[in-house]
């Protein structure tokens, strides 16, 4: 076997696929909470569409992970029968749609928090998928090329809202700035390393740290246009991708997983 072929066949650490899949699923599930509760009809539809894309990406990635794992693993067992200590998503993505000091009741959902998070994550993922579409693993590259098209729309949507809110009324500006202040520290996790990312980088060629400048550019440019200030990073660095999560993920999974756990193997 030639070196090129060996690279082609190099399997990715399954944890890396799960990390990508969990990110997509957790944010997809979170954003789906707006379904039927959007501030206006168009945004209700937009956020549901956004979720559909993310859950679709998660399915493809879980299928790929399940194929590697064998032992009866399926996309469903991975999504519905793993628990908090198994999930490897960024902590940012599991936070509820609330400003930091609000209660977590549904009526306190904050649209600015939702859109700022979508912006921060989409700005990262356009860069990630853009690189991974050239990965030697055929299926991962195909998923990346597909996801890149979708996340471009997500970035455009969330960035437009960031500008509209930031450069809007005093109320919308205040909410957008509060959301940026609340969420920005969680993005520090994008740049910490993990064993599975380091191992994956050897075959995919994607070094996350190399994306930081580009991400900063996208974020800083949008914040400047939105007349928002970027808070200094610092403080606690989250560890979701190492499977150590905030208190919020468990509640979200409980809601998401209760049906398949109550009725295993149910079909419709």
């Amino acid at each position: 076997m030639s070196d090129a072929q060996a690279t082609m066949n190099a399997t990715l650490p399954v944890d890396y696929l799960l990390h990508l899949a969990d990110n997509a699923l957790v944010l997809g599930q979170r954003n789906a909470e707006w379904c039927g509760h959007g501030p206006i009809l168009e945004e209700d539809i937009a956020l549901s569409n956004n979720s559909l894309d993310l859950v679709g990406q998660a399915r493809l990635l879980y299928q790929e992970a399940a194929a590697q794992m064998g032992n009866g693993a399926t996309e469903d067992t991975l999504a519905f029968f793993r628990d908090v200590p198994d999930f490897k998503n960024y902590t940012l993505l599991e936070l509820p749609h609330h400003s930091p000091l609000a209660a977590t009741s549904a009526s306190e959902r904050d649209f600015a928090t939702t859109l700022v998070r979508n912006f921060l994550y989409s700005a990262l993922m356009v860069l990630v998928w853009d690189k991974l579409q050239h990965a030697p693993q055929e299926q991962l590259a195909a998923i990346a090329a597909k996801s890149l098209k979708e996340v471009r729309y997500h970035l455009r949507h969330s960035r437009d809202w960031l500008l509209r809110m930031g450069d809007g009324t005093a109320e919308s500006h205040g909410r957008a700035q509060a959301a940026v202040n609340h969420l920005m520290p969680y993005t520090q996790e994008f740049w910490t390393s993990s064993d599975y990312e380091t191992a994956a980088a050897k075959s995919t060629g994607l070094d996350m740290a190399s994306l930081q400048n580009d991400w900063n550019q996208i974020v800083d440019q949008a914040l400047a246009e939105a007349t928002l200030k970027r808070p200094a990073a610092g403080g606690f660095v989250p560890t979701g991708k190492h499977s150590v999560h905030s208190e919020h993920l468990g509640f979200m999974l409980a809601e998401m997983q209760s049906l398949p756990r109550a009725h295993p193997n149910a079909t419709w």
Partner: protein
Amino acid sequence: MTTATSASSTVLQQSAVEKAWALLESLTDPEIPVVTLRELGILRDVRTAVAQDGTEQLEVVITPTYSGCPAMGQIEDDVHNLLQAHGLKGKVKTQLAPAWTTDWITPEAKEKLRAYGIAPPHSGADHDCQTQSGKANGSGASSIIQFAARSASNPGRHEQLAVPCPQCNSHNTTETSHFGSTACKALYRCLDCMEPFDYFKPY
């Protein structure tokens, strides 16, 4: 196996492939029933493949539009049921690469979309993506930052190209929402006849 039987089985398979193509021509998109799966570019290929038990069977290749498009399950079922109803054995293979693009929608189908009340996508989505990924090899963000900045301060490509109203053909239209009734569409409004309409996003 003798040469004669293998040749006749190939002929049989050949006719099965042709029959399947003809049958599948009747399958329309579950969400947009005026266009066929072939016209949308979802139906990629019908061919024979060797099954696990060693026999040759039909393989219908489809490529999903959006990752989470809920119509894909329906489409797969529709293909299965249609083949089965006509005594053809086959399986559906979902193929992700190359990724589906609106540039695969045939000109005839675009016209049907317009007549149905959906503004068809501008062409060039595929070219645009290739250019961007080409650039991306050098500097990952440049194309993406440009894309994002364009959409905010300067109108970008999607905004620059007028989307003609499918009802009155006016170019005086405006986008209401990036996301419409399905993942593949955006919501628009005509400022002349005031009708809201769907625009199939270039993708």
